[in-house]
């Protein structure tokens, strides 16, 4: 039972990071029907920028751990958002009217480019986050000791997701984003500037991805220039699992995938951990071809 609860909290924490990354995929997909393969590199970049800013400004020493990390997160999110917007401007916007497969190759190219840019700047070796940023505390709950960092990650992710959910569901701009995702033409007829919606999506999605990268650095302590790839792939899987283009779907998919993976690694086989996630995905898609919360669309003939 204790192991189960440990794995559950672990899975939820990792899953919430997946969910944050998945939101970036799903928002871009919703509006542009484009798989932004370079999104995973934005996550990596978030982890590296976090480390750079952390060590060069010694934020946590000066402001205390919690406030320091908060400021750090804001800075990372802001910077990654800018990179995201630039990415769209350079690699995707010229291809809006092109065949979709061309845009996919451009996305793959951008992914390779960013990954190697990071490698050229930071080197190919693993880098370590300082051990002493967060107090090595555990919190006793439900009969188990849960590390503080785990709770913090889950809490912060949920707050961010809640914020995004509120923004998308309740605000004027958020409604415009949803409208543009449903029918771009009709959205234009409402006076919505779809180009600005796209820009916004390429700011918000990457910002969340950057935050996720920072969290990965804090949680695992080690970062590498290729790390984004596997998290990105998991997150993309989570987005598809929930139904791509669907924002609550990405959140649900992420959390679910995190838990499934943690449980699979413990109770089935650690070596097969990564395969289990994909196996579950395939099984679910066979039963529900458009994901858990995806809409069933009947093509109009």
């Amino acid at each position: 039972m204790e192991q189960f609860l440990q794995q559950l909290t672990n899975g939820l924490a990792v899953g919430s990071i997946y969910a944050l990354i998945a939101l970036g995929y799903t928002m871009v997909y919703g509006v542009l029907k484009l798989i932004n393969f370079a999104h995973s590199e934005l996550v990596t970049l978030g982890a590296y920028l976090g480390l750079t800013l952390l060590t060069s400004f010694a934020l946590t020493d000066r402001m205390g751990p919690l406030l320091g990390i908060l400021l750090l997160a804001v800075m990372v999110m802001g910077l990654i958002a800018l990179v995201g917007a630039m990415l769209d401007r350079v690699a995707y916007r010229p291809l809006r009217q092109s065949p979709r497969l061309s845009a996919v190759v451009s996305a793959l190219g951008a992914s390779i480019f960013l990954q190697n840019t990071i490698m050229l700047i930071y080197g190919a070796r693993f880098l370590n986050y300082p051990h002493d940023i967060l107090p090595k505390m555990t919190i006793h709950m439900m009969g188990i000791d849960v590390p503080l960092v785990r709770i913090l990650i889950l809490f912060v992710s949920l707050v961010m997701m809640g914020g995004l959910f509120f923004f998308i569901q309740k605000t004027r701009i958020g409604t415009a984003i949803r409208a543009a995702a449903i029918d771009q033409g009709a959205a234009k007829l409402m006076g919505i500037d779809v180009n600005r919606v796209v820009l916004l999506v390429f700011l918000v999605g990457p910002a969340l991805g950057g935050a996720a990268g920072l969290m990965l650095g804090l949680y695992y302590g080690q970062i590498n220039f290729t790390m984004g790839w596997s998290y990105g792939l998991k997150a993309f899987t989570a987005a598809i699992l929930g139904g791509i283009g669907n924002i609550p779907g990405a959140m649900l998919g992420g959390l679910l995938l995190g838990v499934i993976e943690a449980m699979g690694a413990t109770y089935i086989s650690f070596a097969w951990k990564d395969a289990i996630a994909f196996l579950v995905l395939i099984l679910i898609l066979i039963v529900r071809p458009t994901g858990l919360l995806g809409e069933r669309v009947a093509e109009k003939v």
Partner: protein, 320 residues
């Protein structure tokens, strides 16, 4: 009267046959890699280029072929080239089993599933599935191929083996383009509903495209195993699928010359910039983006097929 096309074909053949004699073994080996990727690209072209199915896991079929060759050769000492059809069949069978339940998925869902299958295969290989695949070290000690009593060892010898295999592939795939089967794939890509509405069993052809592409990738896997004599899971990761995919789209989706050119550029060009060492991939990524922006349709997009029209119609003044 010799047609210009025939002359071009003779010259190209002449160049290709004599080429390795002017190059050092290193560059011959680069050519061999280009050849292998070109054939892989052509096999994926059936699925992505002709049929428009979003397959980003082609390396998994390649892997099944290579491992089939390696296992049967090392365990039972069956001559490796004899195994070419077996490798094709096993990859084709694998494609049929996995593609069947997922073939109806829409574009991007299919894409993630093919990536997922690629990952599952790689992880299975690492985990020494059925105790056959040798785990992350892979399988070594694969025999050199033997043709008419001659053992193929040097890059130049492999060059001719790959050249022959490539030529046969190009010939057959060109025949396929000009056939009921080839056209059916194109109808599917253009408009699935209209294809079904014209009496074409779209589910069948989607699956068939997958199987044909996989059979070929499996056979290439055999050649690869024979060439390397050692294979390991990392040679069949998602990254390989990305390269093959990029070859097809960059070169010209649906076009045989385009795909070959794509292989030359994607596999060959980085070799020219070897001095840049670690920055190579950086430029490679940037070039992929730039090429897509400036040549959206690929470098050599397909040209319309030509038909020899029946005589009584060809000259007729229509439209009455």
């Amino acid at each position: 009267m010799i047609q210009p096309k025939t002359i071009a074909l003779i010259i190209t053949t002449g160049i290709l046959v004599s080429l390795p004699h002017f190059l050092n073994p290193y560059w011959v080996d680069v050519l061999n890699n280009i050849g292998i990727y070109a054939i892989l690209g052509l096999s994926l072209n059936i699925i992505v280029g002709h049929t428009g199915l979003f397959n980003l896991g082609h390396a998994s079929f390649y892997a099944v072929g290579a491992y089939t060759a390696a296992i049967l050769n090392t365990k039972y000492q069956i001559p490796i080239l004899w195994l070419i059809p077996v490798c094709g069949l096993s990859a084709g069978l694998f494609a049929m089993i996995i593609a069947r339940p997922i073939i109806h998925l829409r574009g991007d869902y299919l894409c993630i599933v093919t990536i997922g299958v690629n990952e599952i295969v790689r992880i299975a290989l690492i985990n020494n599935v059925f105790g056959l695949t040798g785990g992350s070290n892979g399988i070594f000690g694969i025999d050199r191929p033997n043709v008419f009593g001659m053992t193929i060892r040097t890059p130049m010898e492999f060059y001719y083996l790959i050249l022959v295999f490539g030529a046969v592939t190009i010939f057959l795939f060109r025949q396929l383009e000009y056939s009921r089967f080839g056209r059916a794939l194109n109808y599917l890509r253009e408009d699935e509903t209209a294809a079904e509405g014209s009496g074409i069993n779209t589910a069948h052809y989607k699956l068939a495209a997958f199987v044909v592409g996989a059979v070929w990738a499996g056979m290439v896997g055999n050649i690869y195993a024979a060439k390397m004599t050692i294979i390991s899971p990392e040679s069949f990761a998602f990254w390989e699928s990305v390269i093959i995919f990029a070859i097809v789209i960059l070169g010209g989706s649906g076009s045989i010359p385009g795909v070959i050119l794509g292989a030359v550029l994607i596999v060959g060009l980085p070799e020219l910039f070897r001095d840049l060492a670690s920055a190579r991939m950086f430029f490679f990524g940037a070039a992929m983006v730039a090429m897509m922006i400036f040549r959206t349709q690929g470098i050599l997009p397909p040209r319309p097929r030509q038909y020899a029209l029946p005589q009584n119609h060809a000259s007729e003044e229509g439209g009455k």
